[in-house]
């Protein structure tokens, strides 16, 4: 594949992956009781997330041929989350929780599709990831995860899936 073709493909991949996340966020707000409250997503945030994502690839020496959709949405989602404060009341919903759920649902959706419906994380697994994101945000990082931890969880799942497919 020519380098220009590869870059065009990457841009398209990134565009569609980003779309998936924002559609999930939109659905999250539509289904919540918090309709008057919405995420304060700014263009600068998206730009920052793309830069961090590119730096991350550069740091680890990854010569990216195609965008890793899992990684990209982790970076964008956590950039958006970093601007939101959390309602400590465990019974109450808040903007942070809605966006965090949408991020987790997007990643679970990618994995579900990647595995053709074979790997669909149960509620308990999703809840664990959510609690870890909340812990990080509430200054309990020893119990939390953020973009890299979240990405690693799904990355290892995808690698396991590929290993099983190869072995079958």
């Amino acid at each position: 594949m020519e380098k220009t073709d590869s870059l065009d493909l990457q841009r398209e991949d990134a565009w569609f992956a980003t779309n998936q996340l924002f559609r999930a966020i939109q659905l999250g707000f539509e289904g919540s009781k918090l309709k008057p409250l919405h995420a304060k997503i700014k263009m600068g945030l998206i730009k920052k997330a793309y830069e961090q994502h590119a730096n991350h690839l550069h740091y680890h020496g990854v010569d990216q041929q195609r965008v890793d959709a899992y990684k990209l949405v982790c970076w964008i989602g956590c950039s958006v989350l970093s601007e939101e404060s959390i309602n400590p009341d465990t019974e109450s919903d808040c903007t942070f929780k809605i966006i965090a759920r949408a991020l987790i649902e997007t990643l679970c959706g990618f994995l579900g599709e990647d595995s053709r419906g074979k790997i669909v994380f149960a509620k308990e697994t999703r809840e664990l990831l959510l609690q870890m994101l909340i812990a990080e945000e509430t200054q309990n990082p020893e119990h939390g995860i953020w973009q890299n931890g979240l990405y690693a969880a799904f990355h290892c799942s995808v690698v396991s899936l590929r290993l099983m497919e190869t072995a079958a």
Binding site: L27, Y50, A102, G109, E113, H155
Partner: protein, 94 residues
């Protein structure tokens, strides 16, 4: 359902049909339930800037470190459909 959307600076109706037409535009929610669109041109500009900025930075490179480079063709195809994958594989949080 969101009532209207800002598309390239223009407020438009977001009935179901209209939303379908907007499907390939990334939209962001704002406080007053309108949406800010991130159009494809803006997106390309941001992506290009990000890639150029990162390539100038000093880094510790680990070329021998392997982790997935990209995604499967199947997932890449699925991202391009009208389907929201989060919704397709949604599990109730209750």
């Amino acid at each position: 359902m969101v009532d209207r959307a800002m598309v390239d600076g223009t407020v438009v109706d977001t009935s179901k049909d209209q939303l379908k037409k907007l499907l390939f535009g990334t939209y962001l929610l704002t406080k007053d339930r309108t949406m800010i669109s991130l159009n494809f041109e803006q997106f390309l500009e941001l992506w290009k800037e990000a890639m150029e900025t990162s390539s100038k930075e000093e880094t510790t490179s680990h070329p021998d470190l392997f982790f997935t480079n990209g995604m499967s063709d199947h997932l890449a195809e699925a991202l391009r459909t009208e389907e929201c994958l989060a919704e397709k594989y949604r599990v109730s949080w209750d």
